[in-house]
Symmetry: C2
């Protein structure tokens, strides 16, 4: 009897308003977990200095993007500031089939699309800031953001936060370490869900037959 | 804004065949977690030496037990070797309302009854032994069990194990420490479920209004 029970991977979605700490939580998760990988999006926007094609994004042209939509090859897609962004379906499905988990850093609109495409595989976590004051502080501490940008982001955050009821779990990010531990618990628990452990039927059959 | 978001408690059910390690896991959970308490059953069987009324069981007579059934005061009940056992509803509901979690060490029949009575509050975990050989070893190591009793328990275990598909989570108990950590993750995750954090609506409202 083999030690590990074959398992179907899951799609872990983290959403939050900008400044709630989602990016730090994602990085810590990816660092600590070999069975979790970030989904790499396709985009029509130009590559920025420092970005690596295939790691940060797959950079494609508008025609290719349109074709991917038409062929149903994207799990979700959105237009932001005139550029298109999308999540290719095939690599995600490959991961899930081989028992690897995929992390998504997407907003509520992307989450809604993924929920429609793949409800059973989705684990959706919403990250909240501990207070408005703290959110504002975090947005202000980003040196490049002007007062106007901060105000705009606060308004956008209020809008984003209205979608918390569409998520399975909610984590209030009071400190990074606790929040990372909480999302890790969610990941650990969801991996133990009966319906993801696709090898259980065979395992219990062997147990019951005394092997 | 208060630090902790008001939460509804949950009912954590652990079921397993005898010998799979459920009792050790339960004890470790209760030792490590101040917000988790064991449900105390009522029973019509006589108190045994060493047992404490109100801690191990509430000892009541058959007439009282019948009245509790008729009044719908039991979440589940069963007859075992001529004695009745049941879970009183009121203390569990008090705990859930005040955000405390309740642990149940019950079999698949009790779990089915609780699922009918309180689906949304139930988190059902099935514990499996790593192998038939290990299960037999554990049952044999209990000095008081004769060969016939071990054989009977192995048959009963096979029967009990057939009910794993009725549970939310399945943990294969290869070593106690890992299994305890896994059930603790399940508990931690389930506490973060959006629909148990009943104070979230108010919390997000305050966040969005900039308080």
């Amino acid at each position: 009897m083999s030690d590990a029970i074959p398992r179907r991977g899951l799609m872990l979605v983290l959403s939050s308003p900008s400044g709630a700490g989602k990016t730090s939580i994602s990085r810590a998760l990816l660092d600590q977990d070999d069975n979790l990988a970030m989904s790499v999006s396709v985009t029509t926007r130009p590559k920025r200095p420092g970005e690596v094609a295939g790691r940060d994004y797959h950079f494609i042209d508008g025609e290719s993007f349109g074709l991917m939509i038409n062929r149903g090859e994207l799990l979700e897609h959105a237009k932001v500031f005139g550029n298109y962004y999308g999540t290719p379906r095939a690599p995600v499905e490959d991961s899930l089939r081989s028992g690897r988990d995929v992390l998504f850093d997407i907003d509520w609109q992307g989450t809604q699309q993924i929920r429609e495409a793949a409800r059973a595989d989705l684990v959706a976590v919403f990250i909240l800031p501990p207070s408005t004051r703290e959110l504002e502080k975090r947005l202000k501490s980003r040196a490049q953001d002007s007062a106007r940008v901060v105000a705009e982001r606060m308004a956008k955050a209020a809008d984003e936060m209205s979608h918390w009821p569409e998520y399975d779990y909610v984590v209030v990010n009071r400190d990074l370490e606790t929040s990372v531990a909480q999302v890790r618990s969610i990941l650990a628990a969801e991996r133990l869900r009966r319906d993801r452990q696709i090898g259980l039927g065979e395992f219990v059959k062997a147990l019951r037959e005394g092997q």
